[in-house]
């Protein structure tokens, strides 16, 4: 059909790149913020933020993102003055810089649809307005010829190093042309530990097959010390051009605290070896893998048939040997493709650092973020889907749960509130916990507010379990606030959390202790791309049930499924049951009758359990779950899968089925009250 628009694709790449730059900038801003608090500004961080703004300005110009171009230009100007130390980095200015970063994120998030002209102009004015110009410095006592080759920033770094009573040295080095990049990188690495590399200047002495550089460094070491250090990598000559010479004997070069990473030398080479791939391309590979899987099962069937045929059994055995090998390679292929999709969840967690810093600033609360299990891996697509729900949860915690420092102290808690983000793998799922040490959720207040907002009727209010009351906070329109604040209180947010997590076939749980805090647990499948499924048959139709949610399976006798009872006895526990056919009720089928022997599949997520009864169990298969067209998206169906010769079958969504249980039936096991 229609070929993908080249321009669209490039635009997508642009958005990805801009996102990357902005997230790097966010991290740097956070470091900068911490530094300002400690009274120590790392020049390399400032410079890196400047470079991010500069790159953004460049790419936004290309794609005609006018608001972004104007704002990143203003930001670049401000940061340029900051890194050249021409203006003071005040709290006010830092605030505006952070606002600018946030607005840039907003502009990218709107994909060019929003109009930011007015806020951008306002912010630009605030950025300019809060710059307090410093007096200019005395000139340098350095060779004018060298100064002339330095950029303004490099000259500034030179001055700064002199001010710190460091020696300014020139390290003259030569490398063969073919291997200069490796040698150069190694040398810079060595020099960086303990010194700041101010500039790399090409030298006029380069000859045919050798390249010469003059590397300008600022260091507490002596020239002899540096010579010994750099001499291990390459042939160098070191000369001192300025700074106080301190007495030091060669050989005593050690134990100098490394400075924070100095400005990296300019190079067009990319540091990373990784390739950025559109997830759609991976989905495509995944589809091919699943089709391969079907071919593989056809081969298996064929070899089984041949083995049974006396004339062909020799070939059949040979073929099944090949098929076993194919199976192994196929599994490897599938696992590697899945592996490519996996990213550490720390990528997501780190995005919340700036977010929390900003919320803390806005609310006047003191908040600390702790993360654990950052390297837990999860599907890239799922990570993106988790961003919004986690943001809403954190927003609510900051606004409703965490107390002001004074209140906390009087309650005998630490001044700062803590939000912990923890991730760990549990079978085929990843559990993400958001834990705070705030005031906890008060059920009485929840109940009152729900009654007030008309979400809950007064008859229902008396019969609700504790768990059901807590669930009320996920209802659309629920809020405990009477007025709307900038962060939350609009009654929008927590319902989005529940909805988004359910869409990922996941589940949200809350545990709370009044006065001590709350824990939100999100249980999410590791990947949605390929799932191991149990193929079952019910009323002549085949369905796939994801194995990740299956807890146990047992053969049942129709007498076990007591009549008029909603519960089935399963290993000495009563579990609510439902017939799969009853759930997937079809027009022309009559009320399903239970066969003499049937099978019970106990599924569950978190502490919910449900026994799904089916006629037959057929096999276990890896299936690629494909999304359904809009009109077919109904509760309880996660998607559909092609299963070779068996055709297409629906994939049951256990979360959806649990949600859609008829009124009054609850799948919570009885221990629930003890939580």
């Amino acid at each position: 059909m229609v070929k993908k628009n080249k321009k669209d694709e490039r635009f997508k790449e642009f958005l990805v790149e801009a996102e990357d730059i902005l997230s790097a900038m966010g991290r740097d801003l956070l470091k900068l913020g911490k530094g300002v608090k400690a009274g120590l500004i790392d020049p390399s961080v400032l410079n890196s933020i400047f470079r991010s703004a500069h790159t953004l300005k460049g790419i936004s110009g290309i794609y005609d993102f006018k608001d972004m171009a104007v704002l990143s230009h203003a930001l670049e100007d401000t940061l340029d003055m900051l890194r050249l130390d021409r203006v003071t980095l005040s709290d006010e200015l830092l605030g505006h810089v952070m606002d600018a970063h946030e607005m840039l994120v907003g502009i990218i998030a709107s994909k060019g649809a929003g109009d930011f002209t007015i806020p951008v102009q306002e912010l630009k004015a605030s950025l300019v307005g809060s710059c307090q110009v410093k007096k200019s410095k005395d000139d340098l006592n350095i060779d004018k010829k060298i100064l002339a080759t330095l950029t303004e920033y490099e000259a500034h770094r030179l001055r700064d190093n002199l001010k710190q009573s460091k020696n300014i040295l020139i390290v003259a080095v030569r490398f063969p042309i073919i291997s200069f990049d490796k040698g150069y990188a190694a040398l810079i690495d060595v020099l960086k530990t303990g010194s700041e590399v101010i500039a790399t200047l090409p030298s006029a002495e380069s000859v045919a097959d050798m390249l010469s550089f003059d590397i300008l460094i600022g260091t507490l070491e002596t020239d002899t010390g540096i010579k010994a250090l750099a001499g291990k990598i390459a042939e160098v000559e070191v000369r001192r051009i300025a700074g106080p010479m301190t007495e030091s004997t060669p050989g005593e070069i050690k134990g100098v605290e490394p400075l924070a990473a100095p400005a990296a030398p300019e190079t067009l080479r990319r540091v990373s070896d990784s390739v950025r791939v559109d997830i759609e391309k991976l989905d495509n590979i995944m589809n091919i893998v699943s089709e391969l899987g079907m071919l593989k099962s056809s081969v298996a069937r064929l070899s089984a048939e041949m083995k049974n045929d006396t004339r062909l059994s020799f070939y059949g055995i040979e073929l099944s040997r090949i098929e076993a090998y194919l199976e192994r390679k196929f599994t490897e292929l599938r696992d590697s493709v899945l592996d490519i999709r996996m990213v550490p969840i720390g990528q997501l967690f780190s995005r919340f650092e700036t977010f929390i810093t900003k919320l803390a600033r806005e609310t006047g609360k003191e908040i600390r973020l702790e993360t654990k299990g950052d390297d837990t891996e999860i599907d890239k697509l799922i990570v993106e889907e988790l961003a919004d729900p986690l943001m809403h949860i954190i927003r609510n915690i900051v606004d409703h749960a965490l107390e002001h420092p004074v209140e906390r102290e009087s309650a005998g808690k630490e001044r700062y509130g803590t939000i912990a983000l923890k991730a760990f793998q549990s079978g085929n799922h990843v559990v993400i916990e958001v834990i705070d040490d705030g005031i906890g959720i008060d059920e009485v207040v929840i109940k009152e507010k729900a009654l007030e907002k008309g979400i809950l009727s007064s008859e229902d209010a008396t019969t609700l379990t504790r768990h059901q009351i807590l669930e009320l906070i996920f209802m659309p329109g629920f809020t405990t606030r009477d007025s709307v604040s900038t962060t939350s209180g609009r009654g929008v947010g927590m319902d989005v959390v529940k909805e988004n997590i359910a869409r990922l076939s996941g589940i949200v749980d809350i545990e709370t202790v009044k006065g001590e805090g709350t824990k939100f647990s999100l249980t999410i499948p590791i990947t949605l791309a390929i799932v191991q499924a149990l193929i079952v048959e019910e009323l002549g139709v085949r369905y796939a049930v994801p194995l990740s949610s299956v807890i146990e399976i047992a053969e049942l006798h129709s007498s076990t499924v007591a009549e008029n009872s909603e519960y089935v006895r399963f290993n000495d526990r009563d579990i609510l049951y439902i017939r799969l056919g009853e759930f997937f009720y079809r027009k022309e089928t009559e009320a399903p009758e239970i066969k003499e022997t049937c099978y019970g599949i106990v599924v569950g997520l978190a502490e919910q359990r449900l026994c799904i009864i089916v006629d037959r169990l057929l096999e276990e298969l890896d299936v690629v779950v494909k999304p359904l067209p809009r009109v077919l998206r109904v509760g309880g169906v996660a998607g559909a899968a092609d299963v070779g010769d068996e055709g297409t079958m629906l994939v049951a969504d256990v979360t959806g089925i649990l949600e859609l249980l008829p009124e009054g039936r609850t799948a919570y096991i009885s221990s629930e009250e003890a939580v």
């Binding site: 999304p627 359904l628 067209p629 077919l632 998607g639 559909a640 055709g647």
Partner: protein
Amino acid sequence: MSNEDMRIKRVKGADGNTKFVQASVAPTAENYLQSLEQATDTAETLRIVSFFLNGDEFAFEVGMAVEVIKPRPITEVPRVPGHILGLLSVRGEMVSIMDLKTRLNLGSESSSGLLARILVAGSEEERTGFLVDRMGGVKELRADSIEQTNGLGELFKGVVTVSPESRITLLDMEKLLGSE
């Protein structure tokens, strides 16, 4: 020339070599020639793909059509509107199948028989298969020949009178796909 022969067209490529091109929808010999005649006309024209429901001819713009497939067993989906029969996997993509006769209130008997076809249409993001009694063909119409007829209902764009005995009703695909 029979209908089957028309499925593959012989086309002179830009490099002078003859290529075989498979038409996405098989036109009949008659209206293929007709469309060639009309192509020389300077008036604004509209290419449509037509099909039959209860003996009446219906059509929509050919640009919306993707392909025609023979009916295969459809996977039913619970709790969807009555005119949605379920889903089919078409080249690895899940496509919802609409019973066009039910949707247009032309009776509740689904199209069946040897000539019944599923006409897949829609955008790249989302496609729908329409179950029809039989295919007509690709035709070219003058845009100004479409009569805006009141009272047809919002799913229709108008009617084209081809000859005293033959009328084609044009469907508004955007409304039809949007309304599912």
